[in-house]
Each structure stands twice: as C-alpha cells, then as structure tokens.
C-alpha cells in the first residue's frame, strides 16, 4: 500500500511538472506569434510610407523606414529593456533593472527562463512601432542619420520610459493615479504622435508644401492604393500588438498589464467594434479611402485604453467619434503650417488621447489591484498630460539640437531633385512610367 502511494505521489508530481511545462511553452508560443504578427505592422508601415511619398522619393522613404526597424532592435537590447524594468518609480532606477542589463544572465539563451526573450521581443516590436509612427510624418526631407538617432531616442528610450511609468504592474501612474491604458493608447500612440509633432516643428515642411501666403499645396502620394493596402496590413499586425498587451498566466485567467483579470475575448469584441466605428466615422467625415483606413486605426486607438472593460457598442461609438474628429484635426494642423505627411500626429496623438481620456469619462470606478487607486477621470487626465509631455519635449529638444548642428533637414535643392536620384543606387520604376514632377510652388 505504501509503495503504491509513493508511486502515485511520484506520478502526480511528474504530471504536475509536465502540465506546468506545457503551460510555459504555450505562453512562449503565444508571444512568439504575437511578435511575428507585429512584424506585419512594419510591412504595412513600409508600404504606407512608400506609397505616400512622391515617386522621386519612394525608395529613400523605404530605406528610412527599414533602418528604423533595424536600429531599434539592438538599441532596445542595449538599454530599452533595462529602462522598462528600472524606472517604474519615475527617474530613480530600481534594483529590478539588473534583470534587463545586457550582460544579465536572463538576456540570452537560458534554460531556466522561457519568458524574458519572448517578452523582450514583443516589447522590441512595440518600440519599432513607435519609431515607424514617427517615420511616416517626416518623409521626403529628413536626413537619414538624424532620423535614425531620433528614432532610437523615441523607440528605445522615450516610449519605454512612458511604458515603465504607465504600462507596468507597479508603474507610478497606475500606483498613484489608477492610470489605465491596456492597449497602449497613451504609452505608444500618444507618445509617438506628440514626439512626431515636436520634431515636425523644427524640421519644417517639404519644399513646395506651403505657398508664401501660408496656404497649403497638395503633394499627392504617388501610389494611394499601396498606402491603403499598407494601412490594412498595419491593422492585421495590430492583432499581434494587442495580443501582446495581455499577460498569459499559466493555469489561471489572463490578466492585463496591471495584473487585473481580463480576457482575450474582451479584446476581440472591442478591437473589432472600435475598428469599424473608426472607418465609418472617417467615411462620413471625408469619404476618402486613405482616411477611412486611417480611421480604422484611429477607432482601435480610441478604444484601446479600455479594451478589457468596454461594452462593445461603446467601443464602436468611441471609434466613430475618433474617426470623425481626427481628420478635422489634421486639417487644423495643416492650417497651422505643420506638414505631417501621413497624419501621424492626428491619427496617433489625438486618437491615443481620445483613448486615454475615454476611459476616464466612461470607466471610472473600476477597482485596481490591492493597494492601488481605482480608475478615475483625474488619473486619466494626469496620464494624458504626462504622455503628451513625455513625447513632445524630447522630440522637440532633440530635433532642435540636430537643427542647430545643421544636420536635420535635407537641402532644398536635393528635395526638388528627389532623394532617390541623389543617393539611392537603384531606381524604383526604371521604365520611367511614373514621374517625379516638380510642384508649382517648387
């Protein structure tokens, strides 16, 4: 009898270990595929950005976009992951940062750690997304080396500091203010959008965008269908992005980034409802397919902060509102003399702002984890101000420095000639079927 009990105990322990390992590997597989899907975001940004460029700059825009992705990966390894782990309390590093320093035993193949690599990869792709958001705004007139430096600052330092503050289980924004932003409306989209705005002010418009009296010219995209297709690819990739925003708990319910219970079903309901609301809102406002697909993104961002808790028709209404309002803010930005070539600030900055504030308006009162305050409008407003400032100030200051050094902007004569002809060793369209004409104001 005793021997049978011992055998049973041994088999039970083996079964528990096997079950635990299966859960661990399921977790690893889940984030692996979320990361893979997020690469599609970059395929989309690449298509979107090249399509939005004029034919004379199409490859230069592609090169810039690809390089942003490439340089974010090693720099996020060098210091991005460290920043996330080290700064949840503000600017004073915590001891948790030691797990993220690049010489840590966890920052490489380790048979006792199935989590760090896939989480690092997912966060690296979030980082690359912020850099790509910024990339589109500055096409056709930013120098590549300066762009890469600005992209690294945003992707591997600024946004991840915001994530440590507002998208971390013990980040000070949630610990002190109950800030709630499960789908990264603030920490990714607001920061990237406001950072782009800060850079655009110093970078200036493309040659020919504005007339001497301040009125704007249309600098038409050379391939609108390619741009629209790129936007749809970004949306496909966002299902990986949003999947990566929820935490797989071995043997228990999912939790959101703050440790509150959540389900992927909630994300499915509200992502799709926000998506459709955004398209419809932008259609009513503009009837322009470029803005309709941008509206899909705006709709998702407008619902993103509360994907885990919204009643789905509320996510639809938020998307509808965002999709309608954001194209109007893009027009306003143009009237202010800012040349945001793809609408990065309106789509991500304002779309993200609607998302963050929307949670405060409609979802105040949700409890936090033990010891932290509940969701409130005040907490969301504080978070929105922090995200806007954290994006805008570094973007403005860093680009002002580069401008002061004379290395921010492509010379006007090179812009007129075209960047591809000047520095790219191959042609996008050898047959010459698509011209890169000079605009009237040039």
């Amino acid at each position: 009898m005793e021997q049978q009990l011992a055998e049973l105990t041994e088999r039970l322990a083996a079964l528990e270990a096997s079950h635990g390992m299966a859960g661990t590997i399921n977790m690893e597989i889940f984030y692996w595929w979320c990361t893979g899907l997020m690469v599609i975001i970059h395929a989309g940004f690449l298509a979107y950005e090249m399509g939005a460029s004029r034919a004379k700059n199409v490859l230069a825009s592609g090169i810039k976009n690809i390089l942003a992705f490439a340089f974010i990966i090693p720099t996020f390894f060098f210091f991005g992951w460290y920043i996330y782990l080290a700064f949840p309390n503000g600017f004073i590093p915590s001891s948790d940062g030691e797990f993220g320093v690049p010489w840590s035993e966890y920052m490489g193949p380790n048979l006792a750690d199935n989590a760090t690599g896939v989480f690092w990869a997912a966060f690296t792709l979030f980082a690359a997304t912020t850099a790509s958001i910024f990339s589109g705004a500055v096409i056709e007139r930013i120098r590549v080396a300066s762009f890469i430096l600005l992209a690294i600052l945003l992707g591997s330092a600024v946004w991840i500091l915001g994530a440590s503050w507002g998208w971390h289980p013990t980040g000070w924004l949630t610990a002190q203010f109950g800030y709630h932003d499960v789908g990264a409306a603030g920490v990714v989209h607001m920061i990237a959008g406001f950072y782009a705005l800060g850079v655009l002010i110093n970078l200036g418009p493309r040659v020919g965008k504005f007339n001497p009296d301040g009125t704007a010219n249309d600098l038409p995209a050379h391939n609108v269908p390619f741009t629209i297709f790129g936007l749809m690819l970004i949306i496909v990739g966002f299902f990986g992005f949003l999947g990566g925003c929820i935490i797989y708990v071995n043997g228990d319910q999912w939790v959101n980034i703050y440790g509150q219970p959540a389900t992927l079903s909630a994300f499915a309901f509200n992502t799709l409802m926000g998506f459709s609301g955004g398209i419809i809102g932008a259609w009513v406002c503009t009837r322009d397919p470029f803005w309709m697909m941008s509206g899909a993104l705006i709709g998702i961002f407008s619902a993103a902060a509360g994907l885990d808790i919204y009643y789905p028709p509320l996510a639809f209404l938020l998307g509808l509102f965002g999709g309608f309002v954001v194209p109007i803010t893009a027009k306003w930005l143009e009237r202010m003399g800012i040349d945001d070539a793809v609408g990065a600030f309106p789509v991500h900055g304002i779309g993200g702002l609607i998302g963050v504030v929307g949670v405060g308006v409609f979802a105040s009162g949700y409890p936090n984890v033990e010891g932290f305050p509940p969701i409130s409008l005040y907490g969301q407003l504080v978070g929105a101000v922090v995200m806007a400032a954290l994006g805008f100030i570094p973007g403005y200051l860093a680009s002002a420095l580069l401008k002061g050094l004379g290395i921010l902007r492509v010379p006007d004569d090179v812009q007129i000639r075209g960047l591809d002809k000047t520095k790219v060793p191959v042609r996008a369209y050898p047959e010459g079927s698509i011209g890169g004409g000079v605009m009237p104001a040039e």
Partner: protein
C-alpha cells in the same frame, strides 16, 4: 462617469461598462445603431447628390 459595475475583481463575471445599468446599456446600444445606420443614410444621400451633380470631364 462611474461606468464600473463592480467594486472588486473577486468573483466578478460580466465586467463591461454599465453591465449593471440596463438603461445605460440600451442608450449606448441605440446610439451605436443610430451611428451605424445613420451613416448609411448619410452616405446614400451624398451619393445621390454626387450622381446628380454635373462633373466636368
């Protein structure tokens, strides 16, 4: 606006905003349906006007 139907996550099930307030749910649902079908009406009106307008070739 306090949209939370819960005060604790312990044992919570339907946690979506206003899940404990059928009136609010109905208002949101009706508004979203108005937004959805109203957009079709608006789009149809615009389309009819566009077809009537003389567009120079």
């Amino acid at each position: 606006m306090n949209g939370s139907p819960i005060t604790t996550w312990e044992g919570a099930e339907a946690v979506f905003t206003f899940a404990d307030n059928p009136t609010a749910i109905m208002i949101i649902l009706i508004l979203s349906a108005i937004g959805c079908f109203g957009a079709i009406l608006y789009g149809g009106k615009h389309e009819a006007e566009a077809y009537k307008a003389k567009i120079p070739e």
